[in-house]
Symmetry: C2
Subunit: 431 residues, 2 copies
C-alpha cells in the first residue's frame, strides 16, 4: 500500500524548526573554534559540557536519559510499554578543528523530530506501534581514540566493552578514564529491542551538490581497509652518521605515504586512500627517527580490489623496509566490508521524499557511520543532506539551514510513517 | 721551541681518574633511561637536578659558580687576577633518549682536568699565565628548543639574548620561562676575556674507530644549511572527499622527505641530509592533513655545493607544492658556513698527543659544536674520542673508559701547556 494513503501524518511545525535552530546553535557554541568550526573530542571537557546541555534539553522535553557502559547517551520516550523501539541519532563528538554539522546535526535533528512526533502522537493514543529514542554514540570520529565507531560497536556487540574502555589516547588516557572524568561512564545498557535505526548526516562529499539533489538515501557503503603500520629504525646523529648506515624510520614512513597515494591514483575513482596520522620518535631535528607509526586507509566499493591491494601493499611495505634498513610490522588491521542498508527503508524514504516534493537520490557512502554498525543489528536507514563544496572534517564545513530543515522534514516523515503505518511492522522484520 | 722541553708539566693523577669516573657516573644517573641512555632536555627537571649536582661539585672543588643570562653555567678558578681565561667545557643537555657521553663527557672531563691543573699549579705560584674556567652551555642540542647552540651563540654575541630567551618548545614554553622554573636564569655574563676555548667530545661518527686512532683533532667543520619548511593544505574527510580535490600537506611532506634523501644519494659521501622532525595538524586518522612542518638539514664540506643544492631544492619544493595543490613557505633558514678551528692549537694538540704516546689524527666535524661558535670569538680547539660503531643521539652511544681517560690526559696536557708555556701567549693572539 502507498504511504500517501495515510491521512494527517505528523509533520514538523514552525515551533519545531525554531527549537532545532536553537539546539543546533547551542551545539555549535560548545567547543566552537574561532574559525567557525568545532573542537569537541570524545570525552573532553567540551564533550562533557555538550552532553550536560543535551541531557538538560532532553529532560525538559520529556525524555528519560540513560547513559550506557561506554557512554552512549540515550533519550527515551515510552509510548507503548513493551513495544520495540525506533532509535534515531548520530554523534556529538568532533574531529580536532572539525565542522559543526558532522554528527551534531543528526543528534539534534533526531531529538527535535522525536519530541515533535511524540507531542503530535498524544492526539492519537494507542496508534503508536513503537517507543522512540534518540542516541548520541560515543567516539564516532576515532580522532582522540581509535578505532572510530566505538560506541555503536559496543552497543551491537561487534566490539567488547573491555576492549573499548581500554582504548588509549595519545597521552595514554583510556576511554574508560576519560568518560569517568566527565561523568559519562554509565553502568548498564538500556533494554531496548530495536524495530529500526535511522540516522541523518551531512554528506561530507560533493555528489548531492553536483547533482543538485536535496536528499541522499544511502543504499550501501564502500568497504574499508584500515592499517596501523610501525617502522622501526635506529636513532643516530643526523650530522656525522654515514648516510649508508642510517636506519631512518621517517624516510620509510615518507616512502609509504607516497606509495599509499599511488595506489589510489592507479585505480581512478574506484579507490580512495589516505594517511592522516603519523607519530614519530624521538622527533628531534638532529636525530635520525627510530620509530614511525602510520594510520593508513584504503577504501573502495570493490572488496576484491581492496583484498588484492592489501596483499600487494604488504609486499610494498617489505620492500620499503628493505630499502631503508628498517623493520616493519602491522600493528593493527581492520577490514570493514561493503554493507547494504535496509532496502525497504531506503525505498520508503525515497517515496516519502517524492511525496514531500523533495529531490532525492539513492547513493553510496564512503565514510563509515554508526548507521552501518547498526545495520548488522536491525533495519537501518541513513539519510544525507548536501555538504557545500563536499568539504568535511574542516572548520568551513557548511550546510545551508534550508537543507537542514528539509532533512528534518524527511526524517520526521519517515519516523511518523514507521511508527503509524500498519504495513511498517511487516517490512521491519529483522529486529 | 718544543713542548717536550718543558719539565714536569701537570698530568692526570690516579685520584683524578677516580674523581672523573665518579662525576661522570653521577651525570649518567641524572635523567638516565632504562636502556642506558639519557633523557635530559634543556631546562627540564632533570637538567635542573644535573646543574644542581654539578654546582655542588664545583664549589666542593674550589670553583666559583656563575650563571649567565641564558643559563650558561661557569665554574671559575682565578689563578692570576686580571689575566685572560682558558675556558673549557661542553654541554649537559641531551637529546630525548640520547646518549650519556654526548656533551656530558666534555663538561665533566673539563671540570676534573681544570681542578687537577689548579691543584698542581699551587706548587708553582706565579707561573700560571691564565685563569681557568669550565662551562656548560645551555641548549647545545636544539632538541627541546630550536636552534641548537643557543647558549654559546648568546655568549659570543652571534645571537641576541632576547631572541634566545623567546625560543619556544613544542608546548609553547619559552626558554626564559623554562630556565627560570629550574632556577638557572642568571643576570649577567661573567667578565672574562678569553685566551682560548677547548672542548673534548665523543666523535659521534665511525672514523676514529675505523682508522684505529685514539684521538681526533678537529681542524674544520662541514657547512650546514638548516631549513624549516611549512606546507599548508586543507582539512577534509579522508573517506568521501575526492582524491583529485585533496590538498594533502602530509603527502607534500612525504615527497619532500624522500627528495631530501635523494639529494644526499646524488652526491655520494660529499653530502649528508636529513629530516628529523615533522609536525602535522590535525594529525587525526580520518582527516586530510592541513599543515605539515619539516626540519630539513643539508650538510657538506663544500659550501658551493650546498648553495646550489639550496637553490635547486627551492624549486623542488615548489614542484611538490604544485603536485599536491598545497602552499609551501620557508619558515626559517640557517646557513652555518664551513669554519676552520685554530691551526696552531690543533698543531699543538697533535704534537702533545704524539709525545704522550697517543695515536691521533686531524679530522673534520660534520656535527655542530659549541667550539665552532667560540671559534669566531677566540682561538678554539676541539678534540674527539672514538664512538663505538659511530652511534650517537642513541641510548646505545658508547665510548670505553680507557678512551675517555686518554682524552682527559690530552686535555689536561694541552691546558697545562697553554697555561705554562712561555710560547703559548704568542700563539694565542686573537683573543
Amino acid at each position: 500500500m502507498s504511504t500517501s494513503s495515510i491521512p494527517a501524518l505528523p509533520r514538523m511545525m514552525p515551533g519545531d524548526y525554531q527549537a532545532f535552530d536553537a539546539l543546533f546553535a547551542q551545539s555549535s557554541a560548545i567547543g566552537a573554534t574561532p574559525a567557525g568550526g568545532l573542537n569537541r573530542l570524545t570525552a573532553s571537557a567540551e564533550d562533557g559540557a555538550m552532553r550536560d546541555a543535551f541531557c538538560h534539553w532532553l529532560r525538559q522535553h520529556g525524555f528519560r536519559v540513560h547513559v550506557d557502559e561506554i557512554g552512549n547517551l540515550f533519550g527515551l520516550l515510552t509510548l507503548r510499554a513493551g513495544a520495540p523501539w525506533l532509535l534515531c541519532g548520530s554523534h556529538l563528538d568532533s574531529q580536532p578543528a572539525g565542522g559543526r554539522f558532522d554528527g551534531a546535526f543528526g543528534v539534534t535533528a533526531a531529538a527535535v523530530a522525536l519530541a515533535s512526533l511524540a507531542r503530535q502522537l498524544k492526539e492519537r493514543p494507542d496508534q503508536a506501534r513503537y517507543n522512540l529514542a534518540v542516541v548520541s554514540w560515543t567516539n564516532e570520529e576515532g580522532a582522540r581514540f581509535q578505532p572510530s565507531l566505538i560506541g555503536s560497536a559496543v552497543f551491537t556487540g561487534s566490539s567488547t566493552l573491555d576492549a573499548a574502555l581500554a582504548c588509549r589516547d595519545a597521552q595514554g588516557v583510556t576511554l574508560g578514564e576519560a568518560l569517568e572524568s566527565i561523568g559519562y561512564r554509565g553502568t548498564s545498557r538500556p533494554e531496548m529491542p530495536l524495530a529500526a535505526y535511522l540516522e541523518i548526516h551531512v554528506e561530507q562529499g560533493p555528489h548531492l551538490e553536483q547533482q543538485r539533489q536535496q536528499i541522499g538515501v544511502v543504499t550501501e557503503t564502500w568497504a574499508a581497509l584500515k592499517w596501523q603500520v610501525l617502522f622501526r629504525g635506529e636513532q643516530n646523529h643526523t650530522g656525522p652518521s654515514l648516510m649508508a648506515s642510517r636506519r631512518d624510520a621517517l624516510l620509510a614512513a615518507a616512502k609509504t605515504i607516497v606509495a599509499v597515494r599511488d595506489e589510489a591514483d592507479k585505480h581512478g575513482l574506484a579507490m580512495h586512500t589516505s594517511v592522516g596520522r603519523v607519530e614519530t620518535s624521538p622527533n628531534s631535528p638532529n636525530v635520525v627517527t627510530s620509530e614511525a607509526t602510520l594510520y593508513i586507509e584504503f577504501r573502495s566499493a570493490d572488496e576484491a580490489l581492496l583484498k588484492t591491494t592489501g596483499e600487494q601493499f604488504s609486499r610494498t611495505l617489505q620492500q620499503i623496509a628493505q630499502q631503508t634498513a628498517t623493520d616493519v610490522s602491522l600493528v593493527s588491521s581492520l577490514f570493514r566490508p561493503r554493507q547494504k542498508l535496509d532496502a525497504a527503508l531506503a525505498q520508503r524514504a525515497l517515496k516519502l521524499a517524492e511525496e514531500s516534493g523533495l529531490s532525492a537520490m539513492p547513493m553510496q557512502t564512503v565514510a563509515g557511520h554508526d548507521a552501518i554498525s547498526l545495520s548488522y543489528h536491525c533495519p537501518s536507514c541513513l539519510l544525507f543532506v548536501p555538504s557545500h563544496d563536499g568539504l568535511s572534517h574542516n572548520e568551513r564545513e557548511f550546510t545551508a539551514q534550508e537543507d537542514l530543515h528539509r532533512g528534518i522534514d524527511l526524517l520526521l516523515a519517515l519516523l511518523a510513517d514507521l511508527c503509524l503505518s500498519p504495513d511498517a511492522a511487516s517490512e521491519v522484520t529483522r529486529c
